[in-house]
């Protein structure tokens, strides 16, 4: 039986997912589509001076559509209809065909695409009317500056000639101009140009990006003051200088897209540069273990937190990133008590460069519920001030940021959103290493497609645009600082939610005063 695994059958039962419509009246056979598709969908026939397309290879990334100079191309979902069956959907059937052909785990990229409830879309924000004035952010100051790190139990201040001075020694803090950070995305899973775009944008926008578990390329050390360095179970690329250069350190326990399992960077993406940065042989799969083999309890975690604090001379915040799972609240409480300066929680819909589809689509809980549950629990225990909370896992717009903060987060991590700004079309094929947009690939033909000058400009624009919108929303609520919104769930109301969901979210139903 073992001999059959992985052997391709003579006839694949899989059918094309997309149909490419080429308007022959507009196509000038310039072959831009041919040259741009890494999946070899388009081909030119010089005999007939005609470009034709192989539908089966199309992943729906729209690279050809975007670059076609005559708008001759349209990609549609295939009109092929399976026999209607609410239980055996085309996706279920195709998955079985695929596995029957390959004998392997189904892989995918990006976040969960299944129709679970999106609580952000069932929460509405408040605004001031008559009894309390709204604030116009164009005319009055509006503070988005956010600090990430442990707060002191109390602060003593003294009066000096220069004004007030804090006497209490504060723990290390990250200072953000706006409560949005770039999520952990490793060099390896994404290209050097994508990482450089993020690092440059973080520096320019006054925020931070995160190395993921891929280490930090020496040429990026100069961005260290705006980089959070992750220490994950595989310890890839972790060395003294790496810890030294970063602004903060983050222990990665879990990831929203694949809670409970480790990372998997396929060998095809481990190029010479990636291998040097990660300190692993070129071309080998970079498999990080599911658990940290030195962490089997909160006490063990405390040891690693303090090992990193010692290593960095207590000069930078040390955070812990976990996936949002069922017992996220007590786990977060444990992490806070273990000495973490911040906790990053990554929800069900958090992205990934590669994960088993079955894990991505079925494990974890939505970030909205997780962040509310953790904030509630930490408040009940009176330790909310000891840590900052970062929410991650599909923050799609400025309203999601505002809602996440009102539910209890200090700031949010954006990963997928940032990649979309760089050109990602969510084709979910990151694990193939053939990203046509030059993001999730190490292929030199593809990585140059992302010009970091353009990339960083687009990211800075996105952060700026969201920040402006956040200010507008805050102003509407009559709040002039993001601090005043944090955990202020009175500004939220639920629509179409049942009583249990409202209770977990800690919000009232729309219409309740």
């Amino acid at each position: 039986m073992g001999g059959q695994i992985g052997i391709k059958m003579s006839l694949s039962l899989l059918t094309a997912e997309f149909r490419i419509e080429r308007d022959e009246d507009r196509c000038i056979a310039c072959q831009v589509c041919v040259r741009q598709c890494a999946n070899d969908v388009h081909a030119y026939d010089p005999e007939d001076d005609w470009v034709y397309s192989n539908y089966a290879a199309c992943v729906g990334c729209h690279r050809c559509v975007t670059l076609c100079p005559t708008q001759a191309l349209t990609i549609r979902r295939t009109p092929l209809e399976f026999r209607a069956n609410a239980n055996w959907t085309p996706q279920m059937i195709s998955s079985i065909y695929k596995q029957a052909e390959t004998g392997g785990v189904l892989l995918t990229g990006m976040g969960c695409d299944q129709p679970y409830p999106i609580y952000f879309d069932r929460i509405l924000l408040n605004a001031s009317q008559v009894t309390n004035p709204s604030i116009d952010p164009l005319r009055e100051p509006m503070e988005l500056r956010t600090f990430i790190g442990r707060r002191p139990d109390r602060a003593e201040v003294t009066k000096t000639d220069k004004g007030m001075e804090i006497k209490t020694r504060l723990g290390p803090q990250l200072e953000l101009e706006t409560p949005i950070l770039f999520s952990a995305m490793s060099y390896g899973s994404i290209s050097y140009n994508a990482f450089l775009s993020l690092a440059r944008a973080a520096k320019e926008a006054g925020t931070f990006c995160n190395t993921g578990e891929g280490g930090l390329h020496p040429s990026l050390y100069k961005y260290g003051s705006h980089i959070i360095a992750q220490v994950a179970s595989g310890r890839f690329g972790v060395h003294p200088e790496y810890l030294e250069r970063a602004a903060a350190l983050e222990i990665k326990i879990g990831q929203g897209a694949k809670p409970g399992i480790g990372g998997h960077l396929p060998g095809e993406k481990v190029s010479a540069e990636v291998s040097q940065t990660r300190m692993i042989p070129q071309g080998t799969d970079a498999l990080s273990p599911a658990p940290h083999h030195d962490i089997y309890s909160i006490e063990d975690l405390r040891q690693l937190i303090y090992a990193l604090k010692e290593a960095s001379n207590y000069s930078k915040p040390v955070g812990v990133k976990i996936a949002a799972v069922h017992n996220v609240a007590p786990i977060a409480s444990g992490i806070a008590r273990a000495g973490a300066d911040y906790i990053a929680i990554d929800g069900l819909r958090g992205g990934t460069g590669a994960a088993p589809t079955s894990i991505r689509n079925n494990v974890g809980i939505p970030i909205e519920l997780a962040i509310a549950a953790v904030d509630t629990r930490l408040r009940q225990e009176g330790i909310r001030d000891q840590v900052s909370l970062l929410a991650a896992g599909s923050i799609r717009n400025s309203a999601d940021v505002v809602k996440a903060i009102a539910l209890g987060a200090d700031a949010v991590y954006i990963g997928t959103g940032a990649l979309v700004a760089l050109g990602c079309h969510l084709c979910q094929k990151c694990y193939t290493g053939k990203c046509n947009w030059g993001i999730a690939t190490q292929d030199p033909y593809l990585t140059k497609r992302l010009n970091p000058n353009i990339g960083s400009r687009r990211l800075v624009n996105l952060i700026r645009a969201w920040s402006l919108e956040i200010k507008e929303m805050l102003g509407g609520m009559g709040v002039n600082a993001i601090e005043s919104l944090r955990g202020n769930r009175d500004h939220l109301r639920g629509v179409g939610l049942n009583e249990v969901e409202l209770r977990v979210l800690g919000i009232k139903a729309a219409g309740e005063a």
Partner: protein, 148 residues
């Protein structure tokens, strides 16, 4: 003077510069019409060179000491005084191809249609930005002043 420069590390080899160069120098300046009706197609004045993952678009450098102008028998190849661009006066050009032979960059070609003359980049004479630069999707081509 402003010249077209190429950042080869960001050239993606899509050849949109060639497509838009051809369109810009067509009779109609309409992309679909130029390619479908104005046949036979002219040669684009910018060509993308490729070897492995490295690619770059190569238009005329508009040299400070242009060999093509020096070598031209009839005075067709000349420097346009207000812009500084090296242009070919097609009325004077007799098609001897001396310029094609002396150009160290290989960016002058024979015009394949119409009057027998040399064809080269004219920096899209009259436009503020050359078409290849304006349509480069990755800012690999830039049009800027670099001399001190």
């Amino acid at each position: 003077m402003k010249r077209i420069y190429v950042n080869e590390e960001y050239c993606i080899g899509c050849r949109l510069c060639e497509v838009h160069c051809l369109t810009q120098h067509s009779r109609s300046k309409k992309i679909i019409k130029a390619f479908k009706e104005e046949l036979p197609l002219a040669t684009p004045r910018v060509l993308v060179e490729e070897e492995g993952p490295l690619s770059f678009a190569m238009p005329c450098r508009h040299c400070v000491e242009p060999l093509c102008v020096e070598a031209c028998l009839t005075g067709a190849m000349h420097r346009d005084l207000p812009t500084g661009a090296i242009l070919c006066d097609e009325d004077k050009c007799v098609g001897c191809w001396t310029c094609v032979m002396v150009c160290p960059f290989g960016v002058i070609r024979r015009k394949l249609v119409g009057h027998k003359a040399a064809s080269k980049c004219d920096l899209c004479y009259g436009e503020t930005t050359p078409a290849c630069v304006a349509h480069c999707p990755n800012e690999a081509l830039v049009y800027e002043e670099r001399e001190k």
